[in-house]
């Protein structure tokens, strides 16, 4: 897994590539919780190049979402690959996460 962070004036984009599993999700968690700590207003997670996500990756996103909601921050997802979307649907999280087709759409919503 590779994580790239791009800070914009209104939002931060976290682009993730590769496999999110029990090995890599702690690093993802660190990245997201650092933003939570700073009370980041809007975080957009770009999942375009994610090849795999397991339950630890999903748990990480749910944790970040809940922690951001607590201070009224916005946690958004963009460019979710089909296979990852299937996993979100199965987990009944497709309605819980705010999912957008593009980073632009996520930023402008």
């Amino acid at each position: 897994m590779k994580i790239e962070t791009a800070a914009h004036s209104d939002y931060t984009v976290i682009s993730i590539a590769g496999e999110i599993d029990m090995y890599s999700s702690p690093e993802l968690r660190d990245t997201l919780l650092a933003l939570v700590k700073k009370k980041a207003a809007t975080v957009i997670v770009n999942l375009k190049d994610v090849k795999y996500i397991d339950s630890s990756g999903i748990a990480t996103f749910v944790e970040a979402l809940k922690k951001m909601l607590a201070y009224k921050g916005k946690f958004k997802m963009a460019q979710v690959p089909d296979r990852v979307m299937e996993i979100f649907n199965f987990s009944k999280l497709d309605k819980v996460f705010n999912i957008y087709g593009s980073i632009e759409d996520a930023a402008n919503s």
């Binding site: 599993d21 029990m22 090995y23 795999y52 339950s55 748990a59 749910v62 299937e86 819980v96």
Partner: protein
């Protein structure tokens, strides 16, 4: 008769990618399509993650052995560890409607496999038997037993 594929990894999360790659290919060689093979890979990964977390309590110097058996009617995955015995009453299956981190692994395992059982004959450690029937009817009959 097909001989099985057997793979042993240290109980460290960095080796889970090896098991996933083997699971995907084993499922594809057994004739499963991409979605089914991905589901099987995911389930095996979740089961091995649980071995590391619960049977080995995150001690990453132990061993996990995963066996893939392809028969005419079923695809069976056997996952063995030498860690602490799983207590069935601890394995809670929570409702998916609650939004909370954790508790999803078992759902992904049950999504891919028709039968998920711990082998009681195993003395020390755990032997988890995951079976996916190739014929849907047979799966239903087995569940009714």
């Amino acid at each position: 008769m097909n001989n099985p594929i057997v793979i042993t990894i240290p109980s460290h999360p960095k080796y889970l990618s090896v098991v996933r790659a083997a699971a995907l290919l084993a499922a594809e060689i057994s004739g499963f399509g991409t979605t089914e093979a991905e589901d099987i890979k995911h389930a095996v990964d979740e089961a091995c993650s649980n071995v590391i977390k619960y049977a080995y309590k995150c001690d990453c110097t132990r061993k996990i052995t995963v066996k893939f058996d392809d028969t005419q009617n079923s695809f069976q995955v056997t996952i063995e560890d030498s860690g602490s015995k799983a207590k069935l009453e601890d394995i809670k299956i929570r409702e998916l409607d609650e939004v909370k981190p954790g508790g999803l692994g078992i759902h992904f395992i049950k999504k891919a496999f028709n039968a998920v059982v711990f082998d009681k004959k195993k003395r020390n450690g755990n032997r988890l038997l995951l079976t996916r029937y190739k014929n849907a009817d047979e799966a239903v009959i087995s569940k009714q037993k």
